[in-house]
């Protein structure tokens, strides 16, 4: 199992992501800087969270136009697993690798708290470690997590099991349509999610509910 973590200026959750992948897979991921136009041969590409380019223009907009993202798109088209968390999710949307957009939180406030997530589709490479409908805890920390898609896109996503995580038990922190917290593409190899599973993988974090995502993913790509 080989993983790469993409790095852009302003991302700040890359070290957490690298630590989570290293801890669970026993192997440190490669890191790839934004200016690279090719990627090493890996099974998993992760775009971590943060505030690439200061969220200028729109969150993720500038980062999504960097050379490395063309390489990520090429690898995604080959079927390589791609996961974007928080700003990484925003970048995947801006790059057109996932449908829809993430807008300013309905409250207009930055939210940093724990939410409950329902595993809305456990039949993906990313969620196979969970039971269908399982409720897990997960931290969120974002200002622009308000997922939006037009009615047609939303119907297609819902119809094909594209919604993999939903905010549960009234914990939607951002006004996201249909309580959407994470989605996967039709092929099932590109996941974007706002919550941070990498921050809940060992007891010192206060819980381990994020661990099954990495165990399922890293185990299967081994």
């Amino acid at each position: 199992m080989k993983a790469a973590v993409i790095q852009l200026p302003g991302l700040n959750r890359d070290r957490d992501m690298i630590a989570a992948i290293t801890r669970i897979s026993g192997r440190a991921p490669l890191t790839v800087w934004q200016t690279e136009s090719t990627l090493p041969d890996v099974d998993l590409i992760v775009i971590p969270g943060g505030f690439s380019y200061g969220d200028y223009l729109r969150c993720g907009a500038i980062g999504a136009r960097m050379p490395v993202m063309r390489a990520v798109a090429e690898q995604a088209a080959r079927g390589v697993m791609v996961m974007g968390v928080c700003n990484g999710f925003q970048i995947l949307l801006e790059a057109g690798l996932l449908p829809g957009a993430l807008m300013r939180n309905a409250s207009l406030k930055f939210v940093c708290r724990e939410v409950k997530l329902e595993v809305a589709n456990a039949n993906t490479a990313f969620t196979r470690g969970y039971r269908p409908g399982q409720i897990i805890r997960c931290p969120v920390a974002h200002h622009d997590g308000n997922y939006f898609a037009d009615a047609e896109t939303l119907a297609r996503l819902e119809g094909e099991g594209g919604v993999v995580f939903r905010y549960a038990e009234g914990t939607n922190p951002n006004g996201s349509i249909n309580d959407i917290a994470g989605i996967v593409n039709a092929r099932g190899n590109v996941l974007g999610m706002m919550p941070h599973p990498e921050n809940l993988i060992e007891p010192a974090h206060g819980g381990t509910d994020g661990r099954a995502l990495f165990e399922g993913l890293l185990g299967q790509a081994a």
Binding site: L57, R58, A61, R65, L93, E94, P99, G100, A101, M103, R104, N105, A106, S107, L108, N146, F148, A149, D150, G175
Partner: protein, 91 residues
């Protein structure tokens, strides 16, 4: 040189929480008759060309590829009228 202004606004039907907050603040300042407020972005762009047709095409592509997220935003382009050089004519 051509000076252009690109205006990006949220599509109708897309919730604009920032516009709503501004609307509430304007009403709080006792401005009578304030209806809906929508927030947008303005880009003033200078282009080193005199070819307005080409500029229009380039600006449209800039909007599609970066300035606007067409999932949620619309854009409009206006090119400033100004003294025209002899070779600068509409085609």
């Amino acid at each position: 040189m051509i000076k252009a202004r690109v205006t990006v606004t949220l599509k109708n039907g897309v919730l604009d929480p920032q516009g709503k907050a501004i609307e509430g603040a304007l009403k709080g300042l006792n401005f009578a008759g304030v209806g809906s407020v929508r927030q947008g972005k303005v880009f003033d762009i200078e282009l080193e060309t005199a070819d307005r047709t080409r500029a229009q095409a380039d600006l449209k592509e800039m909007c599609e590829r970066l300035l606007a997220n067409t999932v949620i935003e619309d854009y409009s382009i206006s090119i400033a009228e100004g003294p025209q050089k002899p070779q600068d004519h509409e085609t």
